[in-house]
Every structure is written in C-alpha cells, then in structure tokens.
Symmetry: C2
Subunit: 360 residues, 2 copies
Amino acid sequence: MSAKRSTLADVARLAGLSPTAASLILNGKPDTRFSAEAHERVHAAAARLGYRPNIGARALRTDRTLSIAFISDVVATTRFASGLIQGALEEAERAGHVVLVMETRGEPAREAEAIEAVLDRQVDGIIFGTMRARELFVPDFPDSTRVVMLNATNPRYGVSVLPDEEAGGRAAVDLLAAAGHAEGIALIGQNDEAERDLFRSATVARRVNGLRSELTELGLTLVAEESCWEWEPHNGYELTAELLDRRDDIRALLCMNDRLAFGAYQACSERGLAVGRDISVVSFDNDELASYLRPGLTTIGLPHVEMGREAVKLLLSDAAPGQRLVPMPIVERHSIATVDTTSESARRAQARLAAGRIAG
Amino acid sequence: MSAKRSTLADVARLAGLSPTAASLILNGKPDTRFSAEAHERVHAAAARLGYRPNIGARALRTDRTLSIAFISDVVATTRFASGLIQGALEEAERAGHVVLVMETRGEPAREAEAIEAVLDRQVDGIIFGTMRARELFVPDFPDSTRVVMLNATNPRYGVSVLPDEEAGGRAAVDLLAAAGHAEGIALIGQNDEAERDLFRSATVARRVNGLRSELTELGLTLVAEESCWEWEPHNGYELTAELLDRRDDIRALLCMNDRLAFGAYQACSERGLAVGRDISVVSFDNDELASYLRPGLTTIGLPHVEMGREAVKLLLSDAAPGQRLVPMPIVERHSIATVDTTSESARRAQARLAAGRIAG
DNA sequence: AGGCGGTGCTAAATGCATTTACCACCGACT
DNA sequence: AGTCGGTGGTAAATGCATTTAGCACCGCCT
C-alpha cells in the first residue's frame, strides 16, 4: 500500500535525464538517438520505481484509452450475453485493453446514457451487444470511435458479428437425416407469421431458412410445425405433449432451442417415449441445460464466446464493413436415435455434415 | 457523427467568460459570486455545444474517475458471477459510475495483471468477486483505492459481502419441517470432511451449520448423508438413485444446490416417485433450472443481484470494515409434499419461518 | 483624499505523459 | 576561420478541467 504512484518525472529525475528522454525511451520510439547508457538508466529507474504510465493522462494527448465499451441490453439475464462478454474480455485482455460493461435493458434512455457515459471516458470503440436488431438512438459520435454490432445489425454501422444460423439450421437437419430420419419430423417452436417482427427474427429467420432449404434439398418434409411465442420449457412441454397425443407418427423433434427441448423431454418421458431410442430430439443453443439432460441433448451451439472474441478483434483491427458469420458448433450427445444410416438421404446428409465440418 | 467534442474552453468562449467561470458555474461550486447572467450564459453555451466534461482530464486533477473495477475469477461461466455483475452494474449506474469488468480465471498472474490494469486507469475502487476465499497477490496499492470482497473474505480487506448462508440453511430445514417432514430426511451433496478446503467451504460451511443447528433445534435428524465432490446433475442423479435403491424410507431430499436437485428429480422420476407428492425436494441457489423443473423446485435463492448491488454501495460509501450478510430468499414452488402441518415440530418450523420472513 | 469591504471575475498553476521544435557540442572539411 | 553534418539530448507546448491566488472596480465612510 504505497502512498502514491511514481510519475514519468520521477523516473526522469532518478535517471538524471529529462522527461522527454524518459518518455521517448520507455515508448521505444524509433529514429531517436539516445546513448545505450541513457536507455539503461531510464529502464533501471522505471523498474526501481515500479513506474506505470497513467493511462488517463496519456489519453489526453494520444486519444487512445486502451478501453472499449461493451453495451448490451441484457448481461446477466441470459447465458448468451455473458458468453459474449467472456469472449470479449479474453480478446480485449490479449490486446491490452480493458472492457467497460454497460447494461441498458433495452430502454432507449439508458442506451443514450450508456453511450454518453462511455464516450465521456473516451473509449476506443464500442460493441453493441443488443439482442434486438433495432435502430439505436445515437448521439453525436466522434468519428474516431469504432463500432461493431454483436448479434445484431444496424444499417448505420457496417461491422457486425452473427452466428452462422443458416449453416446451423442445415446442420440440425443433416444430423437427423444422417441417422436415417426421413419421416415423422416435427418442428417445435417456430411460427413464421408470428415471428415477423419478433426480436428473434433477425437471426432466427436464417436458421429457419437453412433448416427448410436443407429439408427440401434432401427431399424431406416436416409433418408438423408447432409454434409458440415464447421458448421456455413449459412451452416445449405443452406443444410436444399436445403433438404426441394428437398423432403417433412423430419420430423426431427439431426444437428451436434447448429450453423447448427440455420441455419436450418431459413430455416424451411422461408418455413412456425414450429420447434417443423411441424418438429423436435435436435443438439449438448448447445451453448448459443440454448437458444436464438424460440422455444428453444433441444441439447446434450458439458460439457466444467465439463471437465475443471476434467482435473485439474486428473492433481493434478497424475492419472493413461486413458481416462476420461465426460457425455454430455441432454438439453431439445422445438424443438422436439411429434409424437407418444407409438410405439415400442418410448418405447425402452424412456427406454434407462431413463437408460442413471440414469447411468450419 | 460530429468531428469533435467541445471542451470547457469552447463553452467559456461562447459564453464570453473565462474557463474558470465556466468550470465553477457548471460544477455548481458554492461560495462563488457570479452574476445570474453569467450562470445563464454558461449553461446556455454548454447546452448549445452539448458540452460534456472529459472525465479523464478531470481525473487528472481530482483523482476520481467515476469508475470502479469488478475483478472476478469467473464471469460468464457461472450464472452466479453474472448475477453479481448485474447487481453491481445497476448500482454503479445509479451512482454515475462505470464498471470495468475483468476476469482472472483464478490465475494469480492474471490477477496481478488485472489489478495493475485497473490501477493504471485510476479506478476509484475495486470489487473482488472471487469464488474462493484465497489470499490475493496484491501489488502496491494506493491507499485511496477502496476494496470490497464479494462472496469471499480476505483478512487484508475488511469489507465483504456474503449471502446469509446460516439463515438460508435453517430456512431449508424449516420448509421441510413445516410441511410435516420429520423422518426420512436425507442430505444430498455434502461431505464435511471432503469439504474442508474446497472453494465452496467459505460460505457453504455456514449453510451446513445452519441446517444442522435447525434440525437439532427442531428435534429432527438426517437419515442419510450422501456426499460428492462435484455438484452437477449427474452427481445428484447417481447419489439419489443409489440412495433410493438402498432404502425405502426416504421422504425428503435436502440438496446442496439446484443442479443436484435436478439429478435427484431424474432419479425419482425413473423410480416412479412423484416429486412434491411421494417425496419432497428442497435445495439452494434458485438457479434458472429450478423454474424449469416439473414440478417447480422449492429452493433457497442465492441473492446474486442484491449482493452485487450491496458491494457497490459499500464500496462507494466508504463503509466500515465488516461483513454484510445478504438474506437468501425463500422461493416456494411445488416440490414439497404436505405430510402433516399440525405436528409439534411442524408448528414450530412454521413459526420460525414466519419470524424469519419478517426479519428478512 | 484615502481606505475598506464587497462584488464579479480572471490568470496562471496543476496533474501527467507526449511531442514538436530546437540547442549545444564535436570533429571534419574547405 | 567558418561551415556542415552528425550526436545526444532538452525546453516548452499540448490536451482538458480544476483550483488557488488575486485583480479591478464600485460605493461608502471618515
């Protein structure tokens, strides 16, 4: 607990040189002609005093704070957001940056405040980790502040990072088809009409697109589509219960997320259907939940951490506008029953999966 | 996207006064004698230019950055940590502070780096949200930097925020007892010997203490104690399965956390035992999971968000050393079967619960 | 006329690091 | 003797807001 930090002036004094010399030497400026002895003296003095530059003071001249802001509508509420933060933190640390985390709960007023607050602190860049692809109120913005959208797009800011939902949707179908499922496949959770302007739509639409295209290309069809507004376990339970009670030809469930799948498991189990044997389930997210289920749930993961990392990389590298699509990992567990791996569509799906894995 | 922010000098110029006047007036300094007109002109100028002070520059003189650091070993990994962060964020915002989040993964080297990094940025205070009550390596620390420990204690720093585990443990027992459970109560997950120096022990020991004291005071006993190292669903499943297969007098399960309880549910359901009717389950954490289960799991919540808030409050209020124990909420759902609410011990437990609720 | 106490405001220093614009000195060359 | 091109540095300005010390002026009193 020392009383105070030493300053550059202290270092210079101890080294018997000017602050200019100390600064130039410590920052390793090229094209500067100081004697080898001067270098030594300055470094020794800095080491002895445990000198560390005051980043705020430096920023005053350099306009670089080595800090970035992560502004999202939710942070702790969803596992999703915190994965994004984790990735961002990792990558930022690697680059010697520090991350200012802000939560807006999606309220425009708080959004504006958050932006002001981080701008007041001269952050080098801002990551907007919103879950909704919505237009943000944007106050006067210094041109030098870089922005990247995470899991969202905004016409105003070119750089965005998104999960590769299209490929993910295809992979889910391939997984089922590769195990031989060709009939009795139902979709749980999706409703194209209702989704029109839901917050999920931005990326989920691509998921559904991928999913449908892949089904079509493999010559398969959905025998049922059960939709609901929310995607919580009880919705999955109700939808699946109702579906299974209504018809007896259901062999595979494509759930829009793991929480729905959880509910589906409960409904199956109540009806004496063993997941992974009598019926298959595949879903999206790779929520922690997926590994808790018995049998383990096969799911297409949302690559949170990787996305967070990518966002920081793009932010700090001054990337050209465009969308960075992060591959969604296929997480195989034991919820898919093997029906027939030799059929035509099964073979084609297997090939597609293999190709996708190499590409990813 | 304006080119640049305006400075205090700009405001002063526009108002036709000196920067001194502008500063004094904008900061509402008392005992300063400027004309009403001067006040007006300065405020008008500031508003017109959208002036916002540069916090870094201000900090140079005031030594207050209006930023605090939240350093924890894990952030996204556990729901726990992110709840803490959420609370901290809320409270910090209220106080006009911004939060620098750092993750150390418990590695001492990263810890030291994180501390240096935030000290370089002159944070006003640091919250250590470690999950382990371990001694930290501490570099030279400016005396003015406040520190509070969150969910941990450290002899070096007096202020810490912890969940009131003792009371929580008692409440869990009361819940069971109040429903009439007097026999066949088993503890799932705890092993006093094995826990000796586990990271959980810091607070969990109090939980177990509370639990045992309450049992004793109500004249109840545990018929079994199944312990395990990890507290994941599969552990709960295995422990419970083995227990239920071994004996048929088990009527209530006290699980050390919700994930264990989840596993216990699976084991019960496999054996045809309906939770909330044939057997009762109560646990700790109030994980998201608890609400997903069928029937909903009654649990003693870990007050993450509240703890995070509390930590920031203490940090910014320059609190006296001491431990702040945050009450653990009782979250009643439907996993406790009613056996007999009129017995002596049930009545006493009911009274204790009621008293606790009023106190909390 | 000289002094005194307000009133209303400003100049300049300060915190810390960076950076631009020099300066002093030496040896060599003409 | 004067000049030129290094060599090895330094003084001072700068970025922005805060803060200390003090200035100019007015009316009033003696």
